[in-house]
Structures are given as structure tokens and as C-alpha cells.
């Protein structure tokens, strides 16, 4: 098994070992057979925490028994999508849960769900869904109300063209309709039908 270590800054950009020492705060990405298996976070050479990349939840409890402040990314493929469940623990207690859904062909995140870790329910007002065109350009991003209905649609590429979901079908100057965008009308589901 080959093991490779790569140092990066907090934004994930690769840096040299010397730069990492100078920077004080850095990440160490550990690869086994070219697969990223964990990310260690350091400040002044003190290990702050480790994030483990897993393909199932089976190993979570055994890792937690050794590292009670671990975080995890659990990758699961479902059809044309890959979901990444991100879990953060403190003293063996789950404090944060987020799920990212990636479109395999586009290689873009099309949905981000944040959870209330205690109740294991989605915080809809934190959900972001993004619509990309075939060239991978982000055309719309959608924000949601607490009840999961769409609140606002942003057009990241354009200036002053964002609009409220409440105006869809009401404002005659607005040519957007939910037809073909049904997945984006609500915070749920995570995976498009």
C-alpha cells in the first residue's frame, strides 16, 4: 500500500512542508493508494481534529472509540448522483450533520442539506439547491423557507436579476416557471426523482 501526504492551507490549496510550518495552521491530507482517506487539521503542530473519508457508516463507531472528536465524510452512490454525508462529533456526541449531493456527470454539488443534529431533521432554511446548465455553468441557486418551500432564486451570473419564488406565475415580467424545475421547488427531496 502506498501512502502519500499532502499539506494544504485551510482553503485546500497545496503548500510545501516548509510553508505549512511557517503558516502554523494547515491541513494534512493522507492518501492511501491515491485515495484520500483522512484530513488532519493542525495549529502550531498540534492536531486539532481528523476528518475520515468512508464508504459506509460501519467504521464510524470503531473510529470514535479511538478519536471521540472525529468527523466523517461517508460517500454513497445512488444512480447518477453521489451523496456525501458529513458528520462531526465532539466527545462522541454528534454535533453537526450535512449532506452534499453531487451530480456525477456535471461533477457539481446540486444540493446541500443541513440537519439539526439533535432531532436529525433538515433545517430547510439552510438548504441550497443549484441548477447547472450542460456546460457546468451555475444558472440558479435556490434558498428556502423554514417550511421547505422555495423563498428566493439567485442568478449568480447576472446582476440584479434575482427573484422571489412568490412572484413565479404572478409577475407577468417573470418568465421562469417551475415546469422542468420541480426538484427545486422544495428543499426536499435530496435526490431528484
Amino acid at each position: 500500500m502506498s501512502i502519500k501526504n499532502i499539506y494544504t492551507n485551510s482553503l485546500g490549496n497545496e503548500i510545501s512542508t516548509k510553508q505549512a510550518i511557517q503558516l502554523g495552521k494547515y491541513l494534512l491530507k493522507v492518501y492511501e493508494n491515491d485515495i484520500l482517506v483522512r484530513i488532519e487539521s493542525y495549529s502550531k503542530d498540534v492536531l486539532l481534529g481528523t476528518s475520515y473519508n468512508l464508504s459506509s457508516k460501519n467504521e464510524v463507531s470503531s473510529i470514535l472509540s479511538l478519536d471521540s472528536n472525529a468527523s466523517f465524510q461517508i460517500k454513497t452512490q445512488q444512480g447518477n448522483y453521489v451523496s456525501y454525508e458529513c458528520l462531526t462529533y465532539q466527545n462522541n456526541h454528534l454535533i453537526d450533520k450535512q449532506i452534499f449531493l453531487e451530480h456525477i456527470t456535471l461533477k457539481e454539488i446540486i444540493c446541500r442539506h443541513f440537519y439539526n443534529a439533535e432531532t436529525d431533521t433538515i433545517i430547510h432554511s439552510n438548504t441550497i439547491k443549484r441548477y447547472y446548465d450542460q456546460n457546468g455553468i451555475e444558472i440558479y441557486s435556490f434558498d428556502y423557507n423554514e417550511d421547505g418551500t422555495c423563498f428566493f432564486i439567485n442568478k449568480p451570473q447576472e446582476y440584479q436579476t434575482d427573484f422571489y419564488a412568490k412572484n413565479i406565475g404572478v409577475d407577468p415580467d417573470l418568465d421562469f416557471t417551475w415546469l422542468g424545475f420541480e426538484y427545486y421547488q422544495f428543499s426536499e427531496p435530496l435526490i431528484p426523482a
Binding site: S10, T88, F100
Partner: protein, 204 residues
């Protein structure tokens, strides 16, 4: 036609640049009579000192200015140069009220840093600041930073990038606080002397 040319010369070609830009974007075309009517409307707005189609009075408008300035301040953004711009200055039929927070090139670095710090907080909702970002969070964070930089390169930063307060976006906060409840609002940061620094404006 001669009269129209005289009017444009009198009101100022520069003040019609925004109308020209709207036409360039391809989403609207403006015939000469409509442009003339917009110029008349703008002159009235300028004299009255508020977008007359969106507020009942100057006092009503001033209340709005106080409320939105307070929200902008809560998001840690500069409030020394806020302006009305866009269609609410040119027509009573405008769909929304456009607000721009003007910043100079010198301010861009600090505001970019603040916005990126806010973005990082969005990913670390419940975790401590020392918790390592997980791989997919890092990747998504990097891509979003790239998008912010693209907007900055184009001369603006959209309100979705302002971060969150009380776990709500700027627009969600505007709605929660009941600011300008009967009208839609759009707000962005504009970098002075770049592509979207186009009149007419009405300073707060």
C-alpha cells in the same frame, strides 16, 4: 426629434447610460418615447429626493433607509455610500427597489475577506472553528470562493454572498424584519468605477 435630442442633451447622456445598459442586456428594449418618459420621471424623483412610485412620502422613504442601513450594518458591511439605483428611479412601474452599497477598490480586499470568513461560518454551523472542514465542504467552499471572485472581477457582489445573521440570508432577514413589506428589493455591492457603476443614482 430635435426637441428630444435637446432634452437628452439637457438631462445628460450619462444619466441615461443605465437605460442603454438595460437594452444591451437584451431583456428589454426602450423606444424613444418611453426613454423620454423615464427621463421626466427621473427628474421628478431627483427633485423629490426619493423613488416616488415606491414610497408614500419622503418620511416613509427615510424610515426605510434607516431600516435597511441597520440591516446592512448588522451584516458588517459599509454604510457610508448606499444608493438607490435601477428602474425605481425611472418608472413608477418598476418591479422592485434596487439598492447598491458602493465601495472603492481599496475596500475590496477587506470586504472579500469578511465575506469569505462569513462563508466559512456557513459550513461550520454547529462545529467549533477548530473542527476541520470535511473534504466535500472544502471543495464546495473553494468553488464558492471562486464564484465570489468572478463577481468581484465583474464589479459587483450579490447579496447571497453577504453571509447569514440569525441563520438567515440577507433577503430572509429583510423579510423577517418586515422591511419594505409591499415591495421587492434587490441589493448588491458595487465597486466604484467598474462595469456596474452606472447612473442614475440617488444617494441615501
Amino acid at each position: 426629434m430635435r426637441q428630444r435630442i435637446d432634452r437628452i442633451a439637457r438631462v445628460g447622456v450619462r444619466e441615461n447610460a443605465h437605460a442603454a445598459r438595460v437594452r444591451q442586456r437584451g431583456d428589454k428594449t426602450i423606444v424613444a418615447s418611453a426613454l423620454e418618459s423615464q427621463m421626466d420621471y427621473w427628474i421628478t424623483v431627483k427633485n423629490e429626493k426619493y423613488p416616488i412610485g415606491k414610497f408614500a412620502s419622503l418620511e416613509d422613504c427615510n424610515d426605510f433607509k434607516d431600516e435597511i442601513t441597520s440591516l446592512i450594518k448588522d451584516f458588517g458591511l459599509p454604510t457610508n455610500d448606499i444608493r438607490f439605483q435601477g428602474s425605481s428611479l425611472r418608472t413608477a412601474l418598476a418591479n422592485d427597489v434596487d439598492i447598491a452599497i458602493f465601495i472603492t477598490e481599496d475596500q475590496v480586499g477587506n470586504i472579500r475577506k469578511r465575506i469569505i470568513d462569513e462563508l466559512q461560518k456557513e459550513y461550520l454551523v454547529n462545529s467549533s472553528i477548530n473542527s476541520p472542514l470535511i473534504q466535500k465542504q472544502i471543495e464546495d467552499f473553494e468553488k464558492t470562493v471562486k464564484k465570489i471572485d468572478e463577481q468581484i472581477a465583474n464589479g459587483f457582489i450579490k447579496n447571497r454572498q453577504f453571509g447569514k445573521r440569525n441563520n438567515l440570508t440577507f433577503m430572509q432577514n429583510k423579510y423577517e424584519r418586515g422591511i419594505l413589506p409591499n415591495h421587492d428589493l434587490d441589493i448588491s455591492i458595487i465597486i466604484k468605477k467598474q462595469g456596474f457603476d452606472t447612473p442614475p443614482y440617488l444617494k441615501f
